[in-house]
Amino acid sequence: MSLIEVKDLRKVYGEEESQTVALGGVTFAIEKGEFVSIMGPSGSGKSTLLQILGFLDKHTGGTYVFEGKSSEQYEDDELAAIRNEKLGFIFQAFNLLPKTTVLENTVLPLMYSDVPEREWEPRGRRAIEAVGLGHRINHETGKLSGGEKQRAAIARALVNDPEVIFADEPTGNLDSRSGQMVMRTIQELNEKHGHTVILITHESATAEHAHRIIRIRDGRIESDEPVRNRRRADEAFDK
């Protein structure tokens, strides 16, 4: 059983005449522990796909099976619990709460979980140290650099030790050096901690950090191939 299985997945926006087809039937499976890039130009449907896979949005056709259970079988509150416990999100625009510290942002998912309060700080601290931001733990997020902000967001994504980490253009708002550091962190999460990573990007250089690239265009899969010369973010960084 694959972790994620989609069959003929479709997403149509709007009513009747003014319909826009964002996904015109895509089929693939992602195994536990994989690092997959979903790549395509803007408007290709890659963000829509991520939102459906991350249970942020609902598809209009086909099937989506997560951990052997079809997405239609989940109630809204169950989906909230899955997002909380099994999924971690990293967004292009960081989406950190303003005027709060790195630690406060990091423990936010724990507030909506069953993790007892006394474990919040140690878990938050561990996640922050894992992304190399230990020296900024009590800084307000507004005062961090772009790369630091994204690493704070990564700490938040992994604080609940999720099954899958979704990263939507995580380097899109960063300079190349900060982008490399973020990619190194993401690769480490996949290799050292065994998190499944699904990365959305329009740059092939970023996509090549994964094991496998699914290319989408106009809502359909163009190609789905393993990466032969996989990029190592730490090597690039050391140069």
Binding site: L56, D76, D77, A80, A81, R83, N84, F91, N95, Y112
Partner: protein, 412 residues
């Protein structure tokens, strides 16, 4: 368990937008403060008036011409001539009203009193010696008017402290002749200074025998009010009933509804005044309560703006695992925190303003004003503010809870 975190998120939400939060609660602050102020001033005024009524003495009975007043005064009563000598004689008769003493027929005549070129505008009281004991007036110089003065229609007058100062300044007043209306009166007594009681300001009175007032000043044969005193408190009800029966017999009245006079006691008067000031206080409080509703609408308005503005935050929270219920309670609790804090500030502000008002009234106006903190109003004030937050926060909070995590993230 989760509510604890909803409360924490709500506190953070309020704290992150301090100046907006402060502006939001202003309406509630003003509403609650005015309710507290009105309640406090209302009970102070009531205390003041009741003090004056009590100054009348618990044994005092008043007989006024005209229908008993059940609602607002209708003016006609003041001009009623149903109480004349015949009625006064009848109630003086101990065979009719055994427990009544000090029967004091009284006229109130607005007019001016003059000495040389000085004049004093005020009320002239045509009354009897009993007036002094009923209002506890003390004579500082000379004597009060006597029964002989009344019988002889003597042109003598007793004046209050202020009247004496206005007319005579530093010079001697006793024995001097003053002009009231067109007649000359001799000053036989000057009253001690005394705080006002029952709307009579002893310092500002000019007192003459009622017989002289009728003959020389009013030219009429009826009285505006008759005072009397019951011999003891247990006789008060009997005295009141006896007076009513006596005058009804005299006037051939069988139906008490058709009474053309009104017998009152201090107890009744106190109850009436209490009712009137209560009604006024509640009326004004309900006007102030409208501002709470306005404040609530203000909160709803700003919360709606805030929900739109924080769409990203809401989406983020949902993406991180917040359920709709979590978001709903967070925003609802934010609204309740805002209005409750507004209520508490309002109570403090209201108490401070009432205290200042009490201080000003007693220091600068010279009233015997006592400050009281309306505890009930304070409790109701906090409860109402919280309820306002709950009611007016519900719509914005449900709007927030409805947002889909995806739409929220897309919002720029």
């Amino acid at each position: 368990m989760r509510y604890k975190y909803a409360i924490r998120s709500a506190i953070q939400g309020v704290a992150r937008h301090k100046s907006r939060s402060a502006l939001t609660i202003l309406g509630i602050v003003i509403g609650v403060a005015s309710i507290i102020l009105i309640q406090s001033v209302g009970s102070g005024a009531q205390g003041l008036i009741l003090d004056q009524v009590q100054g009348l003495g618990s044994l005092t009975v008043t007989i006024m011409p005209g229908r008993p007043q059940s609602g607002p005064a209708d003016g006609a009563n003041s001009f009623s001539d149903s109480i004349k000598d015949r009625e006064v004689e009848a109630i003086r008769n101990t065979a009719n009203v055994p427990g009544l003493t000090n029967v004091t027929p009284t006229l109130f005549i607005p007019g001016s009193t003059a000495y040389g070129t000085e004049t004093y505008e005020g009320t002239i009281y045509g009354t009897a010696p009993g007036f002094a004991s009923i209002l506890s007036l003390e004579v500082a110089e000379g004597d009060f008017i006597t029964d002989q003065d009344v019988d002889a229609r003597a042109s003598v007058a007793v004046i209050g402290h202020t009247v004496r100062e206005e007319l005579f300044g530093e010079s001697d007043a006793l024995g001097q002749r003053i002009r009231i209306g067109n007649r000359s009166f001799r000053v036989v007594g000057i009253l001690e200074e005394k705080a006002s009681a029952l709307f009579v300001e002893p310092d500002k009175v000019v007192i003459v025998p009622y017989t002289a007032a009728q003959s020389y000043l009013s030219g009429s044969d009826y009285y505006n009010m008759v005072f009397g005193q019951a011999v003891s408190e247990d006789q008060l009800d009997a005295v009141q009933a006896d007076i009513e029966r006596t005058i009804r017999d005299l006037h051939d009245i069988t139906d008490p509804e058709k009474d053309d006079f009104d017998v009152g006691t201090q107890k009744e008067l106190a109850a009436q005044i209490g009712t009137i000031t209560d009604i006024l206080t509640y009326l004004l409080s309900s006007v102030a309560a409208i501002s709470l509703v306005v404040g609530g609408i203000g909160i709803m308005n700003i919360m709606l703006v805030s929900v739109t503005e924080r769409t990203r935050e809401i989406g983020l929270r949902k993406a991180l695992g917040a359920r709709s219920g979590d978001v709903l309670s967070q925003f609802l609790i934010e609204a309740v925190i805002l209005t409750s804090v507004g209520g508490i500030i309002g109570i403090i502000a209201g108490a401070v303003f009432s205290l200042l008002a009490a201080f000003a009234l007693s220091t600068f106006v010279g009233l015997n004003w006592s400050f009281s903190f309306p505890v009930t109003a304070a409790v109701i004030g906090i409860g109402t503010s919280a309820a306002v937050g709950l009611i007016f926060g519900l719509y914005p909070a449900s709007q927030a809870a409805k947002k889909s995590p995806m739409e929220a993230l897309r919002y720029e």
